[in-house]
């Protein structure tokens, strides 16, 4: 790991200013950044440690919304009683992510800034070509081993998968990222690779995530995060789904439905086509399975990741039906 200088920011403003300088990066839990520095992917000249800033780790839940401070730890949010009761999909996405140790370190803001786990991206010594690391250098994954790569939202420049869980739940429930005074919908915060896969987030130097806000809703209250993976725990998703549902008074007709996918796309993937196909309909297994196929509309595989195109709709359908059972 290349050495760097280290400073502790005294305030949010000081952190923003320090991190805006060339070569500087914000350091929170460090679970991505220190790892990538050891891989030779991140080469910061200065790390601006924000973990000691006060007032950024609150978790405020009301009827209207949940506002979670950027420095709240993943594990604390997962275990928070009001998050569990009003936003179960958020809690479930968090506790099924990483390990208990990492969840005690990783912050909510840092979680949104998590980088891809694409093995080619993480290995510059053996794979110099990576458009995400070095724009214009090519993509080592295309034509390589693609079992863990995306089938949705890819481009000719990059097929790296977005690996996170939390943001999948956030995008399903229209959460908003607070960058100090300005706010960005989570769906817009994550960028498609297109021709600029090096740019993953709608955040500029000098900006810093201060909180995320999740609007409260009936569908958020009746929600789940279903994560399917190669091993039962401590693994990234082969495919996952955040699903929330609200029924009409009859308890059968779907008034509101939220569906987002993880483990299959280059960003947290809202599946509005599935939602639109089922809203206003009576929840019925065959209709749910048929509509769930719309989750992978436009998907393209690169060989070994083909299974995701079959798996994702099944995960979506199972999650929707599970939420229906509790009607």
């Amino acid at each position: 790991m290349r050495d760097f200088s280290y400073l502790r920011a005294a305030s949010v403003d000081a952190a923003r200013q320090a991190a805006a300088l060339p070569g500087a990066m914000l350091l929170a839990g460090g679970t991505t950044l220190i790892d990538l520095a050891k891989c030779g992917v991140a080469e910061p000249e200065t790390l601006v440690d924000i973990t000691h800033l006060k007032g950024l780790n609150g978790i405020e839940v009301s009827e209207r919304s949940a506002i979670i401070g950027a420095l709240a730890k993943m594990g604390h949010v997962a275990d928070h009683a009001d998050i569990k009761s009003r936003f179960p999909a958020v809690s479930e996405a968090l506790w099924q992510a990483a390990s208990a140790q990492i969840r005690n370190m990783a912050t909510i803001g840092g979680n949104l800034m998590q980088r891809t786990r694409c093995p080619y991206f993480r290995d510059p010594a053996n794979f110099p070509a990576c458009n995400k690391r070095e724009p214009g250098s090519g993509c080592s994954a295309i034509g390589g081993v693609t079992k863990g790569h995306a089938v949705l939202g890819t481009s000719d420049a990059c097929i790296a998968m977005y690996p996170g869980d939390l943001a999948v739940a956030l995008v399903a429930f229209d959460a908003v990222v607070h960058l100090g005074q300005s706010q960005v919908p989570v769906d817009d915060f994550f960028l498609l690779p297109g021709t600029t896969p090096d740019r993953e987030h709608a955040i500029e130097p000098g900006e810093m995530i201060t909180a995320i806000e999740i609007p409260g809703s009936a569908s958020a209250r009746r929600s789940t995060y279903l994560k399917i993976r190669d091993r039962q725990s401590y693994e990234f998703a082969a495919a996952s789904a955040a699903v929330g549902i609200e029924f009409e008074a009859d308890g059968r007709t779907i008034r509101d439905l939220r569906v987002a996918l993880g483990g299959v796309a280059t960003k947290p993937w809202r599946a509005r086509a599935v939602e639109d196909a089922l809203k206003g309909k009576v929840l019925e297994p065959d209709a749910v399975r048929a509509a769930s196929l719309l989750a992978v509309e436009g998907a393209t595989d690169h060989g070994a990741n083909h299974y995701k195109i079959e798996l994702a709709p099944r995960v979506v359908a199972r999650a929707i039906l599970k939420m229906g059972e509790t009607a």
């Binding site: 790991m1 290349r2 050495d3 760097f4 200088s5 280290y6 350091l27 839990g29 460090g30 679970t31 220190i34 790892d35 520095a37 050891k38 891989c39 790390l47 440690d49 973990t51 000691h52 594990g75 275990d79 990483a98 390990s99 208990a100 140790q101 990492i102 005690n104 370190m105 039962q232 725990s233 401590y234």
Partner: protein, 157 residues
Amino acid sequence: MTKIPVYLDINGHHHELQLEPRVTLLDALRDRLGLTGTKKGCDHGQCGACTVHVDGERVLACLTLAAQAQGRTVTTIEGLAREGEMHPVQAAFLEQDAFQCGYCTPGQIMSAVACIREGHAGSDEEIREYMAGNLCRCGAYPHIVAAVRQAAQEVAS
């Protein structure tokens, strides 16, 4: 890079070190302070061998900069025993034969102590989920689960 002073509170003892900012808590513990009970496995946050407690919570020393731990309270496996008495989790690991080669054991024990304290050791299934961040290459998992279960019951009684 210029070294910086780093003050660390480890197992109730204060240490003042001069470190390059890039030095992890793990390397500071092992190479500078001789506290080699905390193990370096993968050094990438994937195996849990380096698990220590910072302000009472289990974290990975390999992904924590030593400088970040300044002002925090750090506990390592060496700080677990009290007045020569093994911690109940240490005793349970011995009793249940919860290791083979022993390399992952300090991390397993530090993780188990926190797992029980967090209230995540209520069933074997929950123990397996919340101990998933600690890999054991020898595959001693059934005995590890038994040790955590035993220690959790002892703590509760």
